[in-house]
């Protein structure tokens, strides 16, 4: 099914209103190109076998309870190769998924959560507005995991960042250094990383980001962050005499 006319989309029960969603429409050819990237991912055939429309995935889905979101619609759109709807889902729906994979309860063996992982990856790689928006405020986390090798650190526990987590967050923040020193495992005396990661290991991780294109992906959603990460990594690799 191909619908390029916005008025037709607005009348269809299948489509959300693109103007409400706040992203620009693009030519059909661009949507087809993006869908081909999704379909071309080596995991895609392992994630999609068709759909009974039974709705078991929706019943199990946490995001379906709180958002206008349905893993069944994701699987169906992908199976029908409905490039218009898949594009809309890449712009609106995919970031609502919790990635818990409750949907793999599918009796057909589908993995809607896995399809969403691929859709998200293509969204990031192509700098879609949804990816930029969803990752706003998230750049600090990307910086942390890519540059230090651990995702969250003790010093992230700041009361202004987690006011909804209760007064214990302030206790942790106020006593961070001494409480970390009171931990018996020797690798946990850190405050800016989850544990102490050695230098050689970090350099190996940087090389993985460089050689797999994972670092380049960042430039599509946050150019400033990409520049910082690249500088930090190149400098450390250079200091260690490693050529990228």
């Amino acid at each position: 099914m191909t619908i390029t006319d916005n008025a037709s989309q607005e009348r269809s029960a299948f489509y959300k209103n693109t103007r409400v969603a706040g992203y620009d429409d693009v030519p059909f050819e661009e949507k087809q190109r993006l869908f081909n990237l999704v379909k071309g991912d080596l995991r895609f055939p392992d994630y999609l076998y068709g759909c009974y429309e039974c709705g078991i995935c929706v019943a199990a889905c946490p995001s379906a309870r709180f958002y206008d979101f349905s893993p069944r619609r994701i699987a169906q759109a992908a199976a029908r190769e409905d490039v218009e709807l898949v594009y809309q889902q890449m712009q609106e729906d995919v970031w609502e998924c919790s990635q818990c994979f409750s949907c793999v309860r599918c009796p057909r063996g589908n993995n809607p959560g896995g399809i969403i992982t691929v859709l998200r990856e293509v969204s990031v790689n192509n700098g879609l507005a949804s990816a930029r928006e969803a990752l706003e405020g998230y750049s600090r986390i990307i910086y942390k995991i890519m540059s230090t090798g651990t995702q969250v650190s003790p010093d992230m526990l700041q009361p202004d960042a987690f006011p909804d987590w209760g007064p214990e967050v302030k206790d942790v923040s106020d006593n961070l250094d001494i409480w970390r020193r009171a931990l018996p495992p020797e690798t946990l005396h850190t405050t800016s990383t989850g544990w102490d990661v050695d230098e050689k290991t970090l350099l190996e991780l940087y090389l993985i980001w460089f050689h797999t294109g994972a670092l380049d992906m960042i430039s599509e959603v946050d150019e400033g962050l990409h520049m910082i990460l690249q500088e930090v990594m190149e400098e450390r690799l250079e200091d260690a005499g490693v050529e990228v």
Partner: protein
């Protein structure tokens, strides 16, 4: 409400293990075949081994000792009593391990949150860690449920796609690393389940008056479901036996609640930047259901994100007079407390948010005295008597 095993078995959706089940295929055949073809080295699970059954009846080998602890970002960073308790229990039972510095995160929390990575990078991160464990001679034990689930997915992807193996092999060549896949991908909670009777034999606190609800972690048993532990004696084999098997071995009453299959609401991205969803789901679908249907003294789970979400989400809901207020911890912390661990020096409960003190009282622990002991230790650190507390200091 007790666990309705009879009702579970009568449900038409209940599953039975059978040799003809398409899901029962054992991946090990392919794993070793790839080794024979020179695609990778399979690191054997070292003796002594505890054999356990997985969902469709295949045997999984759980090594007791000589383990390379693949730590968890969230556990080490925000709930350090979790990792500390795992180490403590292993030390108490006399099994050797190594706590490596040459380990990185699996990076899957970020991947599931932001998708700023790809299949090759994720597989390379996994293989780099596995290769490093192999070089050490120790066998990987994965602390995080997401790392465990993600690594099982990576194993599946690498087994299915030679082009992915070729790409990762090339990267490992640049790092001077070998392609290594462990014979089993083992989650720490599988170690606790396998050793539950040894843990119970070392129990010094009576937990028979304690009621618990269990939240099984999605990435443990939903991702590559066939490789999760199931036991006919726990839930009639209809739910994963992990955590519940340990709690029951310690004499705890595990109570049922209707939303056990629901996730915790973590959401990966949501817990960090969109917590209205996380808080709502965790409290409305999990904690309130547990309180209403089971009224537990404690919620036990076995993953970084689940402990964080279920614990931290309760504070805001309490402000709205919701039916919340129950402590949350890992079964590793719970088992450590059963074996006599200090609630602050080992289990580090002061990093948790929901009030755990009534539970400690029910366990017969004087938490005020324990806190005073911990404060004394902190004074020694502040006075410069010691730089760090050691294992000898915490008992």
């Amino acid at each position: 409400m007790p666990i309705p095993v009879e009702a579970l078995m009568k449900k038409k959706e209940h599953f039975e293990r059978g040799p003809d089940d398409r899901r029962s295929e054992d991946f090990h055949h392919e794993l070793f075949e790839l080794e024979e073809q020179g695609e990778w080295i399979v690191q054997r699970a070292p003796d002594p081994i505890v054999p356990v059954e997985t969902k469709y009846g295949n045997i999984k080998k759980i090594p007791k000792a000589h383990l390379w602890h693949h730590k968890s970002c969230g556990q080490c960073g925000h709930i350090p009593g979790y990792s500390t308790s795992i180490f403590w229990c292993m030390r108490k039972l006399g099994y050797d391990y190594t706590d490596p510095r040459d380990q990185t995160s699996c990076t899957a929390w970020n991947y599931y949150a932001s998708a700023t990575s790809n299949a090759a990078a994720q597989a390379a991160v996994a293989i780099r860690n596995f290769s490093t464990a192999y070089e050490s001679g120790y066998f990987p034990l994965i602390h995080c449920g997401t790392s465990y689930g993600h690594y099982k997915e990576v194993r599946e992807e690498l087994m299915r796609h030679p082009e992915l193996r070729a790409q990762v092999r090339e990267i490992m060549g640049k790092l001077g690393k070998q392609m290594v896949m462990p014979e089993e991908i083992v989650h720490y909670s599988e170690w606790f389940y396998a050793l539950r009777h040894e843990i119970a034999a070392n129990q010094v606190r009576d937990f028979s008056g304690i009621a618990a609800t269990v939240h099984p972690a999605c990435h443990y048993y939903k991702l590559v479901e066939g490789d999760a532990i199931y036991d006919a004696d726990v839930y009639g084999g209809q739910r994963t036996a992990i955590v519940t098997g340990v709690a029951e071995a310690l004499g705890t009453e595990v109570r049922n609640y209707s939303t056990w299959f629901d996730c915790c609401g973590f959401g990966f991205r949501h817990i960090l930047v969109q917590r209205d969803f996380t808080r709502s789901f965790a409290t409305l679908r999990k904690i309130e259901r547990m309180k209403e249907e089971a009224d537990p003294d404690v919620v036990l789970t076995h993953d970084t994100g689940c402990v964080t979400t279920l614990d931290k989400s309760q504070f805001a809901a309490m402000a709205h007079d919701r039916n919340v207020g129950v402590p949350v911890m890992s079964e590793a912390q719970f088992a450590a407390l059963a074996m006599g661990a200090h609630p602050y020096k080992v289990c580090q409960l002061h990093w948790h948010s929901a009030d755990y003190r009534p539970l400690l009282e029910k366990m017969g622990i004087d938490w005020e005295a324990a806190w005073a002991e911990f404060q004394q230790d902190l004074k020694r650190l502040e006075a410069g008597e010691k730089q760090y507390l050691t294992w000898e200091d915490v008992g």
